[in-house]
């Protein structure tokens, strides 16, 4: 990309030190994401209590180290619900929603991108028009409007969040598929009589998959932020179910009396999005420098 490469500017020892730090940071990020995945998978075994179980004798109990007891190691909330249990289940719900939504967005975007690249003409114009429309409205506002009109259910909510970000995949897929269509291997396969489906799924997709995976990694933090933001406003995941954003939104009312309710979920959201961003940037630099 640049003619002035970093190695030329910097003495190499300093450069190496920076890379060393970067590799450590990536290592920590991956470890954190692994931990989050494990927590999500084993959430029900990790949680000492049911996440909705009330314990009215221990309401707003402080966590261990702040004068709390071992019964509620991370403290409890206004209804005596165990913060550790809720945190574990919240991580599971938030990650599930994020994965589901990312998948929906990716599948939809990739399909529309391929359709646009294949048919061109008015199909392409319609897809591009939708991309423009989506990009021109802040999605949070659109999402809130849909929630106002349709009410809230978990399925609708996941689908709605899935709609966020499809335009990135559509744009990337369209551009890549169009350039792939010009390349010799695709022309050859086509000449041999392969149907479009076969060409796109068996030949073009594997060749553009790495870029799409990077796109997905870069879109994932946005999905988590959108979900937690909506849930924070009380318009996302509905109680009794809980998610990280819900916990922060609920804990806000006890900010001064029981800050532990929201500190941990806030940290988890921030560290998780941070880790995915770091890993995404690193992947992008490794795999595909053309994306930005």
């Amino acid at each position: 990309m640049s003619s002035i490469s970093a190695e030329k500017i910097l003495p190499s020892s300093r450069m190496r030190r920076l890379w060393w730090w970067r590799d450590r940071a990536i290592g920590i990020a991956v470890a954190w994401l692994g931990l989050m995945l494990l927590v999500a998978i084993f959430a029900d075994r990790l949680a000492p209590y049911d996440y909705a179980a009330l314990d009215l004798h221990h309401r707003l109990a402080a966590p261990l180290g702040l004068g709390g007891a071992i019964a509620h190691p991370f403290g409890s909330d206004e209804l005596g619900r165990d913060v550790l249990s809720r945190l574990a289940i919240s991580i599971r719900i938030s990650l599930l929603i994020a994965f589901g939504a990312t998948l929906i967005g990716a599948v939809l975007g990739i399909m529309l991108g391929i359709l646009a690249a294949h048919f061109r003409g008015w199909v392409e114009q319609v897809v591009l028009g939708c991309v423009d429309f989506q990009a021109s409205m802040p999605f949070l506002v659109l999402a809130l409007a849909v929630l106002a009109f349709f009410g809230n259910s978990l399925l609708l909510f996941v689908g709605l969040i899935g709609l966020h970000g499809w335009e990135r995949y559509a744009r990337v897929t369209r551009a890549l598929a169009m350039s792939a269509n010009e390349q010799a291997y695709v022309i050859a396969v086509r000449q041999l009589g392969a149907r479009p489906w076969r060409v796109y799924l068996r030949h073009i997709m594997p060749n553009i998959a790495s870029t799409l995976i990077v796109t997905m990694t870069l879109a994932f933090p946005d999905i988590i932020l959108l979900e937690s933001g909506l849930s924070f406003l009380g318009l996302g995941v509905q109680p009794p179910l809980t998610s990280l954003g819900n916990m922060v939104g609920y804990g806000r009312d006890y900010l001064t009396r029981a800050p532990w309710i929201l500190v941990l979920p806030s940290l988890v959201i921030s560290l998780t999005t941070l880790s995915i961003s770091l890993v995404g940037d690193w992947l992008r630099d490794r795999i595909d420098k053309t994306l930005s």
Partner: protein, 310 residues
């Protein structure tokens, strides 16, 4: 140039049309508003009367035509919560929200662009790493978390600023900083990569090679070209800012459009929600058209190109 502006305005009108239609379709697809609003015990004749009063008994295309007619005349229905026209309810919140977003946008630009350009010019240095690290943290920490941290630190622990509500300038400080920092982080990252891209171009090397002093290469060749790229993202930033406002206003109980939207969504006050959507769409479209016109001014190459396309 006239043709360029005409094409842009036509597309803007089309987008408004799409938003209006989207609101209508979503509104009708969401089921019978009479059923949604009235309690299940409401007698059938009362439901009928309600339908008649709101024109819900007419065929769909008639409803659509009436709706379009009403929207064109600025009639966006009444708020079901307090009975006043939705547009009045929304309009009185607009200046309140602008009090937050305008300084936040300025903060975005003032911090984000210089930080990004500085990082690009000092690429690979400790300063560059530091700016980029802060930027990554800045846009991965959700605005509502950042806001709550500020409340805890500067309103509760150190009682310097009020924790919420509207009032004097002190009430503005925490929400504006919360809104401003997130956007500045995005902008810093983007300006850096735009600047790096430009610095790698052959014409920069050519200018350096013929002996133009480096500061003049930067101000005369690199910055104007990077400005075009950075302009692209400002539209996106305004969108982010609006979305951020919804969350930040809620954190700081700021009585602007964002809080109104949240309350209206929660109570399903559809007329107000729809009105807010139109206002946001209008704001976004105005921004994008302005940016496109600025493009035309900044970069004469784009004028003909853009009006020719689509």
């Amino acid at each position: 140039m006239a043709r360029f502006i005409a094409v842009r305005l036509a597309r803007a009108l089309l987008t408004i049309g799409v938003v209006v239609t989207f609101a209508f379709v979503v509104l009708r697809a969401s089921g019978d508003p009479a059923r949604a609003l009235l309690s299940p015990e409401t007698p059938a004749e009362a439901v009928e009367a309600f339908r008649k009063a709101w024109g819900l008994d007419a065929p769909l295309w008639v409803q659509y035509a009436r709706y379009l007619f009403a929207v064109v005349h600025g009639d966006l229905g009444q708020s079901m919560r307090d009975g006043r026209p939705a547009i009045t309810v929304v309009a009185e919140r607009i200046p309140v929200t602008l009090m937050l977003t305008a300084p936040a946008l300025i903060l975005n630009l003032l911090i984000g662009i210089p930080a990004g350009i500085y990082a690009a010019l000092k690429r690979g240095s400790i300063a560059d790493r530091l700016v980029m690290m802060v930027a990554v943290v800045g846009f991965t920490v959700p605005s509502f978390v950042l806001g709550l941290v500020f409340v805890l630190a500067f309103a509760v622990e150190l009682p310097w600023f009020p924790s919420g509500g509207a009032g004097g300038w002190q009430h503005l400080v925490l929400p504006v900083i919360t809104l401003g920092l997130g956007g500045a982080a995005v902008l810093a990252r983007f300006s850096r990569s735009a600047m790096l891209e430009i610095l790698g171009q052959p014409y920069i090397r050519a200018a350096s090679a013929k002996g133009v002093p480096w500061p003049r290469v930067v101000t005369g060749h690199a910055l104007p070209n990077a400005a075009i790229a950075v302009l692209t993202i400002v539209g996106f930033m305004v969108g982010n800012l609006i979305a951020g406002t919804v969350l930040v206003e809620s954190v700081f109980s700021w009585p602007g459009i964002g809080s109104l939207l949240v309350v209206s969504v929660a109570s399903r006050d559809l007329a107000v929600v729809q009105c807010i959507m139109l206002v946001v769409a209008a704001a976004m479209i105005t921004t994008n058209v302005t940016i496109d016109l600025l493009y035309g001014m900044l970069d004469p190459r784009l004028r003909e190109l853009r009006s020719g396309r689509r």
